[in-house]
Amino acid sequence: MSSNKKYWKSVEELNENSSIVEALQQNEFVEEIPTDEFLGDKESLESSSTSRRDFLKYVGFSTAAASLAACEGPVIKSIPYIVQPTEIVPGVANYYATTIANGFDFTSVLVKTREGRPIKIENNTDAATNGIANARVNASVLGLYDNLRVKAPMKGDSKISWETFMSETTSKLKGLKDKSIVLLTQSMPSPSVNKLIGEFKAKYGNVAHVVYDAVSESATLDAYQAKYGRRGMANYDFSKAKTIVSIGADFLGDWQGGGFESGYAKNRIPHHGKMSRHIQFESNMSLSGANADKRVPLTPSQQKLVLAKLYSEVTGNSAGGVKLPEVLDAAVKSAAKELSLAGRNAVVITGIQDVNAQTAVLEINTHLNSAAFDPSTTINTRQGSDKAVMQLVADMKAGKVGAIIMNGVNPAYTLPNASDFKEGLAKTELSVAFSMKQDETATDCQYIAAAPHNLESWGDFELKTGHYSMMQPTIRPLFDTKQFQEVLMAWTGATGSYRDYLKSVWIKDILNGSSFNKAVQDGVFVTRSASNGVGSKNSSSKTVTTTSSELKDKKDRTFLGGVIHDVAVGVGIKDEDKDEYVTSTTSKTINTSVDNADVTSVLTGGAAARALAKAKVAEGLELVLYTKTGMGDGQQANNPWLQEFPDPITRTTWDNYLTISQSDADKLELKNWNVANGGLNGSYAKVSVNGAEAITVPVIIQPGQAKGSVGMSFGYGRTSKALKDEMKTGVNAYPLYQNFNSVQSVSIEKTVGEHEFACVQLHNTLMGRGDIIKETSLEIFNTKDKKHWNSVPVVSLNHIETPVTSPDVDLWDEFDRSVGHHFNLSIDLNACTGCGACVIACHAENNVPVVGKSEMRRSRDMHWLRIDRYYSSEDTFEGDNEKKKNISGLGSSLSEFGEMESPADNPQVAFQPVMCQHCNHAPCETVCPVAATAHGRQGQNHMAYNRCVGTRYCANNCPYKVRRFNWFLYNKNDEFDYYMNDDLGRMVLNPDVTVRSRGVMEKCSMCIQKTQKTILDAKRDGRPVKDGEFQTACSAACGNGAMIFGDVNDKGSKIAELREDDRMYHLLEHVGTKPNVIYQTKVRNTKA
């Protein structure tokens, strides 16, 4: 019996007399479509002599004519050198060792150049102590070819010549009477620059050098200075740590300048049943927290209490009464116990920007006598002082500053009180910004001194005590630029080039008789005292070094740090050698007083802990500001690779956002939801600090975010002419960075509107699909057989369970792959920290296009290599499996699956890099109608772009979803104005890899251009290929040892060994694709 219930779509339908309803029943649209209007004057259209048929004839004829004319091949010119440089052979890459030191990232790197163009940044394995290239450093090569760079010095909006610039600025500098000159620079731990600045001070007098880090590590520096008497940050070597307790320190991110992940990863791979244990106390879900064995979410104010408690537990000194919630209390106690048990093998670190907290950590590590803790070697990549910067802004506002010369800083964007700064800037008589861009600060300055990119400059850096790194140009400057050092020399009236100056400084102060050319070639120089292991404060190192007369100059040099040290050395040289560079004793008096922060207030360990213990637990929400893996401090915001780089944790591109826990979001009625096209939308929230003007930020609900805390990243929301409009994304978080405190008490309320995110991974948890990520605990790994934690899936064959690896259950015939090379790529889920360096390296190597935010939102990203991030709704992934197994019946499965979909408050996280798996039995190959994708006997799945007709069958049939379709032409297309749209940006393209066109499928080629090159090199030399020679872009970029590439037919190679490892498994093995990419089961050092 049919129901007579009335269904209706809109209230209007209930009105029986509605003409609209009537009209809609008959027609598609209510109103008549104005076609005549659309086509123009009907009369003249009809009377036109050109009929529709004529029109078609014309079109047909012109198309035919055009296509025939297009058959004429273009005349291509080839222009050889007039005098070919001996080191350049067209078609052969040259590598140069240099340094990327942009004030935020400091790394020794190798730069690959082709025909004189730098095209890729690779790791300098000789310089392992200086960290490995992260995603931003890998991407920085694109900044060289940024079309918006300042191409010549500018005065206001007009270009001027360097002569004009020099004469005008010099006369202004000399014309300043009693007002001071301020050099505001990024952190530059550079011996030659410090000496130059000393000379500049001597020449002009009344000069102050203020170092400014956009994201401050001032508290760390102050605490270290108070304890050890010099400015720097203690070095940590996590490869020596068996137990790591981190309190709010994202040491796999940018904590203390970053670069710790390779040391950390070494101990994460279980070796003889042992691996390190990592406990993380934190508020935001960070990379470090995601990799931790045990992660304790807590608010920033609780972190201080936890640290105080930990201090008292480990050292035995009382820290006063610390009241902690029971869970935290237990967690601290167990952490303290583990630390004490591990003794020397333990290390504690903290990211709390508080002198007391940092002091307490130094005390704990000293107490533990931690092997990983190395206070005698300082990290010098952060030198800024908050107080000096604040004082400078106040002085500028008061009109005390006559001239300000800035290098590598952008305070008008990065200062919390940027408006005060701008006000002060207007009051100076001379303002010069050394900048590559017309950025927020440079546009407000009188002069923009066009600065070269790192890859076009000379430079030297003492990144760690005794660990020097050399920066050399890898290309002649593209534009009319001069580096800060050169101009500084011109101002002081010095002659010669900065290179010669640098060389003389190195020969005199650093090299100690070693060859300068060798240092330039290596890119690094480690003084022997540093390499011999540091720690002793006496000058025993003197005997180790050399016997030259320079010895006396080098007295204790490695034990002095930072600016003070170098000025002091300069003076010392002057006194003894009558050196021409240090001009007068006045430089002695110009000690960088601003750097001597108020260290007297720093307390001893116990007192510091007691001060910490008094920290009040904040009432409202606490905001933790952080730097994103992709964007850092935001200076590379115009880099489309980085904008499109998915954040390892949220998998969101082209944005920053407020991360909030589920429960807080519920309270504030903030939501995330997915819309029909798969895009993620979110509510907006208004965030205000201390009642100041609120900023509106989109919200992402972040599993694992501590309740009571929210997070937001720096680096977005930039304006100015330094960026293309597409890159002006996100919200600037620096105005919230009051007093350089990364923790702020904020009030948040929901506001109208919804934000469209470009998030590339929608599913949140693994849903217990253990064949994607296999995981086990160290205990099970050590005690149980492989089949318990890494079993091969079985299928039923004649009612007998047969493993899927058996040829009996295979659809395909097996090929003989024992001859020649057979490439495999091993990915160790234990060593992968999710840092994403491989993603950018893959971009650079393989000319992967950037598609932009709206295309990303449509899931049309072109990344050949993605790093999937999985959460577990239970405490462990195992828990998910259990839950899935126990699901019975439809009713319960629906609800339980629903439950599993939402990640828990404190989920386990796993990262999994996925690229084309190069299946030996590839499903994509069988469905290609034109045989555009075929299998090579070396194990690579080939893709012939020129053969592809774009049916996309292959992508449909790929179980790993790693094939990418070119929906548009991404090069030379104004709609995709990122980097392949201008001649300058295209200079970064790898000439050995095809730039794909529209309508073509593409995917990871397992860097066949690199393997082929390695083979060819060996053939030319007439030798077999050695193990370790074969590399892909991702395996070469991975400094963690998570990606190992090689030839499995080379018995005895690392990869052949890994293939036989117990931890080895294939992704979705039950599908029977027999991939050539292998994964190593993740083992967690979890304890009950």
Binding site: C71, E72, I79, G91, L1016, R1020
Partner: protein, 442 residues
């Protein structure tokens, strides 16, 4: 589609005739000169043999000295007489200088030091091995009067200026004539018809059988066969047309400098890889940079008269082409001016971007002759694309060519395994995997 083959001359046929003619004259002239020279030298020669002197001069002196122009060292024409007249220096001084100039300079000899300083203090190579006879032979050679300038140039100029009647013009005129004739015939017939009509004469039109075309049109079978034939034929031509789209075999563009591979690689036998050195190590063979040209052309500023005469066959003045090189590289005969102008060569061999080709793989590893792909370059006056450079052409070669595995340790293992697998001793590139898509397309 082919690029137009522009030849240097508008009318090659006509030119050819003239070339034969001027070739003859030039031969007569040069014969005269040779005779004259032999005659005159025998008169002026003192005690040396200028023929032997010439060969000694070319092997020992020519690298730094020219007869009539100063180069690295001074001009040597009549050097002995000049020194005797101007400086009062005798043969003994010259011998001492030639055998060991630096000791002469050290001894403080005034003129020796003057010359040394004049020529940028570059000491002349010592030739202690030259005997007195050798020296007198050389000096005899230098004492010869200069050869008369090559004559045939005037002839060429004449040829170029003299406007030949083009064959096309003749053909055109003929065609016009025939057209006029045909028109006249039609007109005559019409007039005759009109006359006949006016006079009432009935023109007997034979009641012919059906015209051929009508009969043809009515025979459906024939029509069908013809239609099929035409369809197939046009299909064949259309296919042929499309198949050659993008194939530039025979492409022979006019280059900014007329560079003759025939002279360099053929006559002079310079190894291809002397200039195209990156072919050994790189994916590209490389167009030589101008400094490579200058290695030789610093001393070769003009070609031999015979070569110059050969150039006439192609309508090229080689000396002018060398001058173009000098203009580009900024060489004024003695030094670099620093004003250079890159040469924009027109690229002949263009592989599409999606095809990867590596010269070193083929040249160094495979040991394949350049001529295998580039054809008889040593015979090419103007370089052209010899091979089609199509994929089919690549593949065929990979199927047929054996890999050079001998004495290459890289291949030891793989050769052993593969030859066991295929049961052959020699492996082709295809058997090594040289037909896989990804080996060339990535």
């Amino acid at each position: 589609m082919k690029k137009s083959y522009q030849s240097l001359e508008d009318n090659p046929t006509n030119n050819m005739k003239q070339v034969i003619y001027c070739g003859l004259t030039s031969k007569i002239y040069s014969l005269c000169i040779v005779l004259l020279l032999t005659f005159s030298t025998s008169l002026t020669a003192q005690d040396g043999d200028p023929a032997n002197g010439k060969s000694l001069y070319n092997s020992n002196c020519a690298a730094c000295h020219k007869l009539d122009k100063p180069m690295t060292g001074p001009a040597l024409r009549n050097v002995e007489a000049r020194l005797a007249d101007e400086q009062g220096l005798d043969r003994a001084w010259l011998s001492a200088w030639i055998r060991n100039s630096s000791s002469l300079i050290k001894s403080g000899d005034a003129y020796a030091n003057k010359v040394y300083n004049e020529y940028n203090q570059i000491a002349m190579t010592a030739f202690p091995q030259l005997s007195d006879q050798d020296i007198s032979d050389i000096l005899a050679y230098t004492a010869e009067p200069p050869a008369a300038p090559p004559v045939p140039v005037a002839g060429t100029e004449q040829v170029v200026q003299e406007p030949g009647i083009s064959n096309n013009l003749i053909l055109g005129a003929l065609a016009l004539l025939f057209a006029l004739l045909a028109m006249a015939l039609i007109l005559v017939k019409r007039t005759l018809d009109r006359f006949a009509e006016a006079k009432g004469i009935e023109v007997i039109t034979e009641n012919k059988r059906m015209p051929l075309w009508k009969a043809f049109a009515q025979n459906q079978f024939l029509v069908l066969v013809t239609a099929i034939f035409f369809l197939l034929a046009s299909g064949y031509f259309v296919y042929g047309y499309f198949m050659q789209v993008g194939v530039d075999q025979g492409y022979e563009p006019v280059q900014p400098i007329h560079y003759s591979h025939r002279i360099h690689a053929g006559d002079n036998g310079i190894d291809c890889k002397y200039c195209h050195s990156s072919a050994r190590v790189s994916k590209t063979s490389g167009i030589p940079s101008l400094n490579v040209c200058m290695n030789c052309h610093k001393s070769i500023s003009e070609v031999a008269p015979e070569t110059l005469a050969e150039g006439n066959e192609y309508g090229v003045d080689y000396n002018a082409e060398i001058q173009k090189l000098y203009d580009a590289v900024g060489w004024d005969g003695t030094g670099y001016t620093g004003e250079s102008q890159p040469v924009k060569w027109i690229r002949i061999h263009n592989l599409p971007d999606f095809a990867y080709f590596n010269h070193s793989q083929h040249v160094t590893v495979g040991g394949i002759e350049c001529q295998t792909c580039h054809g008889p370059v040593e015979e090419m006056e103007i370089m052209y694309q010899h091979s089609p450079l199509t994929m089919g052409w690549c593949i065929n070669c990979h199927r047929e060519t054996d890999v050079k595995v001998k004495d290459n340790a890289y291949y030891t293992k793989i050769h052993e395994e593969l030859s066991k697998k295929y049961g052959v001793e020699q492996l082709t590139a295809a058997q090594m995997g040289g037909l896989e898509c990804g080996k060339c397309h990535y």
